[in-house]
């Protein structure tokens, strides 16, 4: 899966499941401060990512991911 495909799938999930404005979904967007995903929302994000990409993540690792661009890269590293 290309980085572009990962980006598209993640952004669709964030827009639909978390009702985030698409204009905010840029690679440098901070997950906590820009996208406003708190620690509870991160739990739901992990579940969505695991289902969407059929991967197993580690909560501690995801919590280290700062930006959306970092998240795309993290997912790619798990595929």
């Amino acid at each position: 899966m290309t980085l572009e495909e990962i980006k598209e799938k993640v952004n669709v999930s964030l827009a639909e499941e978390f009702e985030i404005e698409e204009s905010l979904l840029t690679p440098d967007a901070n997950i906590k401060t820009t996208l406003k995903l708190d620690s509870l929302s991160i739990i739901d994000l992990i579940a969505i990512i695991e289902d969407t990409f059929s991967i197993k993540t580690e909560v501690a690792e995801i919590k280290q991911v700062a930006t959306l661009g970092d998240l795309y890269g993290y997912i790619q590293s798990k595929l």
């Binding site: 009702e19 509870l40 739990i43 739901d44 992990i46 579940a47 909560v59």
Partner: protein, 416 residues
């Protein structure tokens, strides 16, 4: 405005109702519920999904699921179970009616006491997910908050910025009534100025399966609208129902200070416990609750213009309530009805919703027919039960709520 909770004395004070909100099978606002009461409309339906699951009786009250997407953000909705959404709608209506907005709530201490005694659907769903996925994380962030018994009060206190008493009252089918009674006591004794009181009851195919299993429900499935028939000779069990109901209780002093419209006044709360069988009610416990209510309030039974009975349409429950009412009221018997003929049994919510139904009737000068009461038996013949709508003025009513374990609650509310 300063926080006035600590500034008043502890004299016994008048406790008034300044707002009401309702989300029930009779309607999802006060006006539609008033019309349903006036017209004696039933809110009972047959649910084929329950039949397929093995229910002995698939009858239930029906309410639509509220769509809060345009009102609350995803993060605000994430922790709300469906019955929490009912409660949100009812509470939003009640606060608006009371003239209490977010600015007021941010500057004043307002509490919440809400009746609730289950949250089966989210509990079941989260357990299924955990077992299926083999990973607790997959339950999702909302599961714990949706599946705790205090889910309604924990959600509403956050959504409405409530900073006073914050507690769920679990007392089976008397939960909503006790929530109002306890709110009344806290305000009367000067410990709170304003409390959001009410009750919420989930409607789904998981919550009442085990209740159906003990044979408590009416099996008149071919006539859903005739199945709930409180006090009728041919009653054969209750019909489960649900929704949410909210009343804003407030000290008269606070209501007058705000210039709020005072709808009614809570003037009495009595309670008792049967100390007897877990499901079969007796006569002595409910009668004691009634007597305690009169004793605590200083009101005489002759002053009561209407009794909204607990009567759920079960053979023993209705019989014993009829005997208790007859014992306490004797010759001073006002009209007695059970709105459960229309609504079914709204369980954890019933005490709150029935207070609202009764207030609606009191304010509009009528008593709805006790739907499906066609023939009395020897016990219910002791009561004065209207079979058709009575267009009559009354200024004070009594409302009974009883629950499993023998918990009894009685409220008296008067017109203002």
């Amino acid at each position: 405005m300063p926080d006035i909770k600590s500034s008043h004395n502890t004299m016994s004070r008048k406790v008034v109702i300044t707002g009401m909100g309702i989300y029930s099978c009779l309607g999802t606002d006060l006006d539609s519920v008033k019309d349903s009461l006036w017209n004696g409309k039933s809110g009972i339906v047959f649910d084929p999904e329950r039949k397929a699951m093995g229910y002995r009786s698939a009858l239930t009250g029906y309410v639509p699921e509220p769509d809060l997407k345009s009102i609350l953000s995803r993060s605000q909705r994430a922790f709300l179970p469906t019955h929490g959404a009912y409660a949100y709608v009812a509470t939003d209506q009640a606060l608006k009616m009371a003239g209490i907005n977010m600015e007021y709530l941010e500057k004043n201490s307002v509490g919440i006491l809400y009746g609730g005694d289950s949250t089966a659907e989210p509990t079941y769903q989260s357990i299924c997910t955990m077992v299926e996925k083999g990973d607790t994380l997959r339950c999702g962030s909302g599961a714990i908050f949706k599946s705790m018994n205090s889910t309604v009060t924990m959600n509403l206190s956050c959504l409405f910025k409530l900073r006073g008493i914050n507690m769920t009252v679990s007392a089976a089918c008397a939960s909503g009534s006790h929530a109002i009674g306890l709110g009344y006591l806290l305000i009367k004794e000067g410990l709170e100025e304003c409390i959001v009181c009410g009750g919420a009851q989930e409607i789904n195919k998981y919550v009442v399966g085990s209740f159906d299993g003990i044979g408590a429900f009416s099996i008149r499935e071919n006539e859903p609208e005739k199945a709930s028939r409180p006090f009728d000779r041919d009653r054969d069990g209750l019909v489960p129902s649900g929704g949410a109901a909210t009343l804003i209780l407030e000290s008269e002093e606070s209501a007058l200070k705000r210039g709020a419209n005072i709808i009614a006044e809570v003037v009495g709360y009595g309670f008792s416990s049967n100390g007897d069988h877990i499901s079969t009610p007796n006569v002595a416990g409910p009668a004691q609750s009634l007597r305690n209510c009169f004793k605590n309030s200083g009101i005489d039974p002759s002053q009561i213009g209407y009794i909204n009975a607990h009567a759920t349409s079960t053979p023993v429950g209705d019989k014993n309530e009829a005997l208790a009412i007859a014992e306490v009221f004797g010759k001073d018997m006002p009209p007695v009805s059970s709105t459960k003929g229309q609504t079914g049994h709204e369980m954890w919510m019933a005490g709150a919703s029935e207070a609202i139904y009764s207030i609606i009737m009191m304010k509009n000068g009528f008593i709805a027919p006790s739907l499906n009461f066609e023939n009395p038996d020897q016990d219910t013949a002791l009561l004065n039960i209207p079979t058709e709508r009575l267009e009559t003025k009354f200024d004070m009513f009594l409302s009974n709520s009883f629950g499993f374990g023998g918990t009894n609650s009685t409220l008296i509310i008067k017109n203002r």
